[in-house]
Amino acid sequence: MNAATTDKSPWRRHAGFLITVAFLAALPFILAVVEGLPFGSLLANDSSTAKFLQGLLIEVFILAVFAISYDLVLGVTGLLSFGHGMFFAFGSYLTGVLLKTFGWPLWAVLIGAVVAGLFNALLFAVVLPRVKGITFALVTLGIASVFDILIRTQEMNPYTGSDVGLQGIPRPDFLNPVDDRLRFYYVTLAFAILIYLLYKRFVDSPTGRVCIATRENENRALNIGFNTFYFKLAALILAGVTASLAGMFNTLYKPLVSPEIAGLGFTVEGLLMLLIGGIGTLSGAMIGAAILRLMEYYLSRWFGEGAAFILGAIYILIVMFLPYGIVGTWRLRRLDIAAGRQRLLSYFTGRQKETPDKGKL
């Protein structure tokens, strides 16, 4: 980074982020205006297309948090984990079971979800020092599959509802997406923004830098004197807790949990979000989640059965031709453009300086 960019005022440096936040905060009202609804009706929580779209956006925020947590594990730390969906599913199921079967209050469920995330991360950490690369992927896939199998067994039916999934979960009064969707919208939005800021801080911190170093070259990081295991563990724990919390919001939003989120398919969906946005870019993961969710919704509305086919084709095309995703490619190109502009400027300025020199000579 040269001096020109760091000299910018903080407002200008974070303009993109601030505009996005302001836009998302105003979006329910914008949607209402577009539909021609009075604000009173929006605040009174009348059912409308705008309310439906709010719901879609709430799902986007929840998935964005899931995607960013996957990005921390896969993109930033470089752990090829195929069991990340389990973190989300565990949080989801735990929230459902605690609310439905045990009738815990919301704050206790929150603590429970955090502890569950911690527990999951530690479960992965048990195998972390032993296996690497593809074997780690297989083991995490295995652990996630065991979880998937366990929640589907008949023995767990009273708690998890086996193949049907968990249904009829009571909604807490404070966070009720049916009675007051706008509040739920802002809570999930605030949650997503907080998580994004936290992750940004984490990746920019010395700990996060070591995580990136681990991804780039683990042996070198070890030789410098970092015990990479602890850094990988820190990333896993942070990601596990976040994904678990995202799972909690998922259960609160649509008070049913389907066993599909525990399968490999959901992890692959997370991968797709990362790929669309750009692996290892954090903000890309969230953008990817938004694009994927909205695309899925509209594609299945327009094409029905064929939507999966089109999604698959998009997936392949992105892997082949846009490997760094939207944000990643944009960052690369932006640097190119900036460098090109500077070269151009220095070419011109240099020539302007050169010509008088030559004239003197």
């Binding site: 296996v131 593809i134 065991v146 589907r152 067994t153 991968l271 790929l275």
Partner: protein, 528 residues
């Protein structure tokens, strides 16, 4: 003695693990009657053989190309479905072969375009634009021609015409009566459609070459144009048209064949289709990604999902069965047989043998034929790896593929060949597994998981490891299923504990995790 002790110390963990596994097996055998364990052992070996057919290809591909092909399960499934099509509806395969050959012929002309393009002097702007136009036009032509092409095929959505009903026709021997041959309404229509197919595929091929030229610039050596593609083109077009001309008699002949001959044909066709798909996948999609390791995994994962969707659109979402060939399906006179000779005489579906004083039912296809095929493939692939030049290159490539390339061997071509071989093996496994286990859109994912587990247990890139892992996975599954029926007498429990069916895959996964924690490289894996 000294050496023995040394090698023991070196492999202590491995030896102890193997001993524990063996003890577990003995323990499992101990709890059953002789008949039960023999039958369970056979079933486990059968599951192991099918798993091995997939795991073997996966392991060789992973070893040589460093690609974990997560689409392998889907390709296994595609093999099974293609095999079913050849087995039950050979007329459909004959119908499809004409447009397929014509499209292939169009693509085969690709080497001719490069010298042609290098002679044309086009501006950069034109070079950028025209391939896109050619691509769109070619794809549109292909889409129009292929959707109009008359193919007599089952329907995935209408029950009366679904694969399930066709399977029933096959079992009743009335497929030939129910087939309505599809032909062009007029000769002009046929010529137009064929022309569209040829021109469309040529345009797409031209576009592909155009893209490459636009990116890298034309670097063709001046010289006489290659005549070999042209000869192939003519041959394929003639064969394609000839197949259309003899379509009706050929379909009639194939439909009149016995199920044994059809089964052999199904195996051949499915293996070839699988190998072709594998070669295509490697040369077009995976080859550009050798530098980006994770992306290959992501790509194959996506391809696997697309393949499942494709199978769902063509064959439908509901599963169906594939009838067993005559040799393994008779239930009439002299059946169930009391020995293998009796089976050969009467072609029984089951043999009942006295084992340990109890009669044991052994299915000839599921438990004898499948195991025999597994052992046969094990020996053939082992011979291929150990005794041929290709095998030597593969083994060397698994060790260090750069060194092999440095020695002047075209590793790229070997890569394509090995990928095609591995996928062909998986498709072959699909046809073998289909009559035993039926066809469904989840068969690929299930088998991929168990063969991945087998690989991880055996050591990712080791061929004997793949075999051992597959057998361990198969045996564990089947013994736990059997114990789920019998119940285990555990101490401190009143009633015998019965593991519920979902615990079968879970137990195999747990076994894998435990083995990997003890031996991170797997049983026979190379430590890095």
């Amino acid at each position: 003695m000294q050496n023995l002790l040394q090698s023991y110390r070196k492999n202590r963990t491995l030896i102890i693990t193997l001993v524990i596994l063996l003890l577990l097996l003995l323990l499992a055998i101990q709890g059953m009657s002789t008949r039960d364990w023999v039958v369970t052992l056979l079933r486990g070996l059968a599951v192991g053989s099918i798993t091995f057919l997939v795991a073997a290809g996966l392991s060789i591909i992973l070893g040589l190309l460093d690609v974990l092909n997560l689409a392998h399960g889907t390709l296994f499934m595609i093999g099974a479905y293609v095999g079913w099509s050849m087995y039950v509806r050979p007329d459909t395969v004959v119908d499809i072969s004409t447009p397929f050959l014509l499209v292939l012929a169009g693509f085969l002309l690709m080497p001719l375009w490069l010298p042609l393009l290098s002679r044309l002097k086009l501006s950069r702007g034109t070079m950028r634009v025209w391939p896109w136009i050619a691509l769109v036009a070619g794809l549109a032509l292909l889409a129009v021609a292929l959707t109009r092409y008359p193919i007599s095929i089952w329907s995935a959505t209408v029950y009366q015409d679904s694969p399930i009903v066709w399977t029933q026709y096959f079992e009743a021997g009335t497929v030939a009566e129910n087939v309505t041959p599809a032909t062009f309404p007029s000769a002009l229509g046929a010529l137009l459609t064929w022309g569209a197919l040829l021109i469309g595929s040529m345009l797409v091929g031209l576009a592909a070459v155009g893209f490459a030229v636009a990116r890298r610039g034309a670097t063709a050596q001046a010289g006489r144009p290659a005549t070999r593609p042209l000869i192939w083109f003519v041959v394929l077009v003639i064969v394609g048209v000839a197949l259309y001309v003899v379509n009706t008699p050929l379909s009639g002949f194939l439909l009149g064949l016995g199920s044994n001959a059809l089964f052999v044909l199904a195996i051949v066709v499915a293996t070839l289709v699988g190998a072709g798909l594998g070669g295509l996948m490697e040369s077009t999609l995976i080859r550009p990604l050798y530098e980006r390791a994770i992306y290959q995994i992501l790509l194959t994962l996506g391809l696997g999902f697309i393949g499942v969707e494709m199978v769902r659109t063509i064959w439908g979402r509901t599963g169906f069965t594939m009838p067993k060939p005559e040799l393994f399906s008779s239930t009439g006179d002299g059946c169930p047989a009391d020995s293998i000779a009796g089976w050969l005489q009467y072609h029984c579906s089951t043999i009942i043998i006295d084992i340990g004083g109890e009669p044991a039912r052994i299915r000839t296809y599921n438990e004898l034929f499948v195991i025999a095929v597994g052992i046969f493939v094990l020996i053939v692939v082992w011979l291929l790896l150990q005794r041929t030049r290709l095998g030597m290159i593969i083994r060397a490539g698994v060790q260090d593929s750069r060194m092999v390339e440095a020695l002047g061997i075209n590793v790229r071509r070997v890569f394509t060949l090995v990928f095609a071989l591995g996928v062909g093996l998986a498709a072959f496994g699909g046809v073998i597994a289909a009559p035993a286990n039926g066809l469904s859109d989840t068969m690929g994912a299930t088998l991929l998981l168990s063969s991945l587990i087998a690989l991880a247990i055996g050591g990712l890139t080791s061929f004997p490891g793949a075999a051992a892992g597959a057998v361990i996975v198969g045996l564990t599954q089947q013994f736990i299923i059997r114990y789920g029926q019998l119940g285990i007498n555990l101490p401190f429990m009143e009633e015998p504990w019965k593991p519920s069916p979902p615990l079968v895959p879970a137990s195999v996964i747990l076994l894998m995790i435990v083995i990997l924690l003890v031996l991170p490289q797997g049983l026979f894996g190379r430590s890095e």
